[in-house]
């Protein structure tokens, strides 16, 4: 039985399929039609609702979230905001309505969800924060100016709302021929994994959710990892950061901000807040896409993975995890438990550069992760990996070798970049041609030099 709080009231989803998307459940099941479907792939934000978790208000894509994932949480939709605000429009609704923030209105409920979560976050509002909060919402009518102004006007004025105590979570939901497991411990998880090697392993669901929302799949067995205590752990020691595989991007971000700021900045370009609130770094690794954004960075950082099974754990270098296109070293019964990322020494610098058609919420044409270890003016070691350049995220061995031991200069960086063609034969697809990928991957080495050497204050168009 899936139970959650819906707009302040206890809700029992009775016999609904646990893999029904929250969007379909609201619209078709409950005929609450305020929440819209614009794309069913988590890219337009029209379906944005707010989930309340640990007292925090997080925007999520209802199209990608299965209702099993909402068990024991609170969900707020556009229909409920006045209700929880004493019958009055919330500040973001009022600002959007009075400030001409709506035209056709179809994207509006999603914008309201994203902005309401921002309003309730208590964050210091700046244009950068507003764009960050709106990156997952597309509007085709207004040109955004009035929406940005509504955000400036309203966000910062939280409404007083105390979330209801969450209903108890169930470890297992059965509906018809489907089973949806939500284990709480690693041993429960690995036992389930051993028993159901064919099950859909669902972390945040921002990638697998597509099979349900778009391909209309109805998986027989789902193992939902988000509540596994060990997988939610974050540990920081003197020399490394350890992230449980089910830690969301959002929860990991403060650590990246402090330890690997360039990585953090790139994470803010992965999907949107809606995606990052649900999505996990473990999921990004596990689905082994050649265009995933975190793997090249983690390879450059020399991260390792702890893989757990019912009969024990093993640790491998992440670069050895990706075997071929969407093929990993994960054995039947194994799950990713922890990602261990070495901290940077004071001789090391890390940068990542992502290149895509649009700055926000786009998939990389090319992404490079670079960790250089310096010995004075010389490069002692270079670890460089790219995504979008091969069937797997992969190190650029020739580029690394060209840099190792040489004096760090723009010519040296450009010369090393020119070796990129020895390491990769990328594909041409709708994101970019092979030629462009190769050229940009090489040029990113020049950007790296200019960035690390500080020769130019402004190096990326987004900074101006």
């Amino acid at each position: 039985m899936i139970r959650f709080i819906l707009n302040g009231e206890a809700h029992d989803a009775a016999n609904a399929s646990p893999t029904t998307t929250m969007l379909d459940y609201l619209r078709d099941g409950l005929r609450m039609t305020g929440t819209k479907e614009g794309c069913a792939e988590g890219d337009c934000g029209a379906c944005t609702v707010v989930r309340v978790i640990d007292g925090r208000f997080e925007a999520v894509n209802a199209c990608l979230m299965q209702i099993g994932q909402a068990d024991g949480m609170e969900i707020l939709t556009v229909e409920g905001l006045e209700r929880i605000n004493g019958g009055a429009l919330t500040p973001v609704q009022d600002s959007m309505a009075t400030g001409d923030g709506t035209q056709c209105g179809f994207c509006t409920p999603g914008f309201i969800g994203a902005l309401f979560a921002l309003e309730q976050s208590g964050e210091d509002i700046s244009d950068a924060v507003i764009h960050d909060a709106l990156a997952g919402n597309l509007c085709r009518c207004t040109g955004y100016r009035p929406i940005i102004e509504a955000a400036r006007d309203a966000c910062g004025s939280m409404i007083g709302y105390t979330p209801a105590p969450p209903p108890e979570r169930s470890a297992e939901h059965a509906a018809g021929d489907q089973k949806f497991y939500t284990p709480s411990t690693l041993s429960e998880l690995t036992d389930l994994r051993a028993a159901h090697p064919e099950a859909m392993l669902l972390s945040g669901g921002t990638d697998l959710g597509l099979s349900v929302s778009k391909a209309r799949a109805r998986p027989a067995i789902v193992i939902h990892t988000a509540q596994v205590a060990e997988l939610g752990e974050i540990e920081e020691s003197a020399d490394r950061l350890s992230l449980g595989a089910a830690v969301s991007y959002t929860n990991a971000l403060p650590y990246f901000d402090r330890l690997y700021p360039s990585f953090a900045e790139m994470i803010r370009r992965i999907g949107s807040r809606q995606i990052r609130n649900l999505g996990t770094i473990g999921g990004n690794i596990g689905n082994a896409s050649p265009i995933g954004d975190t793997p090249p960075c983690l390879i450059a950082l020399d991260a390792t993975l702890v893989l757990a099974a019912a009969d024990g754990e093993r640790e491998i270098a992440i670069e050895d995890f990706f075997l071929d296109y969407r093929k990993t070293d994960l054995r039947p019964g194994e799950v990713i438990r922890t990602i261990r990322i070495p901290k940077l020494t004071d001789r090391q610098s890390f940068r990542t550069y992502k290149v895509s058609k649009r700055y926000d919420q786009d998939i990389s044409a090319v992404i490079g992760g670079f960790r250089l270890t310096f010995d004075g003016d010389r490069v002692a070691e270079a670890r460089i990996a790219y995504g979008g350049m091969a069937a797997t995220p992969k190190r650029a061995g020739s580029v690394e070798a060209a840099l190792a031991g040489i004096e760090w200069s723009e010519d040296a960086a450009a010369g090393a970049g020119a070796k990129i063609a020895e390491d990769f034969s990328p594909l041409t697809d709708h994101r970019a041609t092979a030629e462009y990928r190769t050229r940009v991957a090489a040029n990113l080495c020049t950007r790296l030099y200019r960035d690390l050497s500080g020769t130019e204050a402004e190096l990326e168009v987004v900074r101006l």
Partner: protein, 772 residues
Amino acid sequence: MDGGDIRGAVHTNIRHDSAVKHVTGRAVYIDDMPEPPGTQHASLVLSPHAHARIVSIDVSAAETAPGVSAVVTAADIPGVNDIAPVMSDEPLLAAGTADYAGMPVAAVCADTFDQAFAAAKLVRIEYEELPAILSIEEAWEKQEFTYTPPKIVFGDAEAAMRSATHLVSGEVRCGGQDHFYLESHISLAVPGEDRDITIYSSTQHPTEVQHGVSHVLGIAQNDVTVEVRRMGGGFGGKESQSTIIAGIAALLADKCRKPVKLRLRRDDDMIATGKRHDFLFRYEIGFDDSGRIESAVIDMAARSGNVADLSAGVVARALCHGNNAYFIPNALFRGWPCKTNTVSNTAFRGFGGPQGMIAIETAIEHIARDLGITVDEVRAANYYGTEDRNVTPYGQPVTDNIMPEIVERLSREIDYEGRRKAIEEFNAAHTTLKKGIALMPVKFGISFNAPMLNQAGALVHVYTDGSVHLNHGGTEMGQGLFTKVAQVVSSVFQIDIDHVKISATRTDKVPNTAPTAASAGSDLNGMAAFNAAEEIRVRMAGIAGEHFGVPPEDIEFRQNRVYAGNESMSFAETAQMTWNQRVSLSATGYYRTPDISWDAETMTGSPFYYFTYGASVAEVVIDTLTGESRVLKTDILQDVGASLNPAIDLGQIEGAFVQGMGWLTSEELVWDPKGRLMTHGPSTYKIPGSRDVPPHFKVHILDDAPNRVPTIFRSKAVGEPPLMLAISVWLALRDAVSRTGDAKLMPKLDAPATPEAILTALDDIKQRSGTQ
């Protein structure tokens, strides 16, 4: 004329009538309507091939799948398998051949969408692949066109070219564009008595949906009623394309005799329905030492897709805007509507105008580079005059030209020269990042090119409590039309707008309507509603005059009351009294745009009632290592006449600009070598997001500029013209690329200027500059 002292008068900032409904989720779109009992949900079967003979179709497995109530193919069409809006060449469902990858071949409806989706996969279709034409070039070379290619001939371009002092020639292309309205296509077809059918359709053109359904089902137009309260965006994508969706829903409903809802999932919407025309242009321009154009020959080859659809109108408008704001004494503009095995291209905000302007602006830039003077100097030498040099290539005199004044004022107010210098300084100080700047003047003709479409109807009722019901032929897609027309009625009666009920567009209330398109929605429907309301107001004034014992012309409607000198009664009392006196409180209103003409054979006439004028300056920055770009500043000055609602017009200008910016930068349609669209969702097709909006984005509406012709309260159309202001962004990107090399060279940068296109252009200009 002043709108009066009421809430909601014309010329005031009244918010969109549905704003509160939008922000609370209470605005009802078609998919939100309560479903009639037994409603079936439909899914399409699309051709996977760009061109193929359909050898056989076996629907037996689909028909017996769980929940399925009907499967339809072309063979099930009881009427005519043609939904073409202009010609007669557009099958609703593929018959004999499939002509593009994504063409609907069959459709299934079932109790649930998932059942229909699963059953659609069970329709077995055997295809025999045929050679496909996938590019503009190939169709042009093979002379495959969707209709007879048109041309505009003015003066003697070829003779003038021979005698011109200077000549330049070149080629440029611009991409297509998906509308990406947030609400995808949807229709709910509800069968009634006999073969009556009611269609709730997300459409800009209810009348055409009515015609299409009537053709397909073989029933009379009076058997079909179409209704739309609001769309979640249209942008031209729901002008003709809605008929496909409505036609299939109606066909299914007619077969299973149950209500059928067909809502396209985003991918199907993008794959199966039409887009903006991409164009390939070739130009040759002759000009004198000052840059003044003596002759222009421009070939405009448009991707028309598998059928003509609205291409004749789009190409005509492209040809009619290949002059933009410039006098061209000798012109030969040829249109080539290339027939390709890709989805039919269709209406999209601007309707060919933006494309035509891309061509002439490229040519203007070429003249400037050739002479070593600025683009703005070339433009100044070519703007239309007021006394002379004031006839367009299609023969229409330009009588309202204010382009030079607008450009001069914008340039002065933003210190255009100072900005250009600042950019030079920035570029001198930066290696990686380079800036560019450009101005774009836009003169856009208002009215449908086809005169017959420039008509509208309205229906106004006043009830005895003084409340008013308003209906007209225009549709609401977010542009605020319903609000503006309500302001008109409110102003006629001098009652607060709260008393005017806005109602859904319906073909049984106002028949035989034109599409809500061509920016003409408020010009046409506003005037029709004015005429209806005015007729009732005159009747009410007559009654009030009798009551107060004064002539009707002494009766004044003011602040929700009706006055005769110092005596007055409320508007509601007047309405009641009018009824008591057995005088009708209901009227239809009709309007047709005066003084327009067009000969589609010779491509001559005066198709436009007036022109709108605007200008934009955009400042951009590019990354020379990756080709990434960003628009930093945009300043706009736009003429909207005496605006009916400046807040709504501002929203139209800003929204159109950003949409145009997307077209020219990040929005790239990519087909694979087999002609299948690869960019069919927001994960792969990138429209602008909030961060892409220029951080400095200033829009000024030209004040004190009432329309010189008597439009509704002297306002001007606004929907499309500002989209073309975004060409300033593309020109500025070209400027930035150019500034890295020899200024005499034309950058090889087509639209959209994606990071890849920009980097490629940078590499190219570097190479050419080095070798000169």
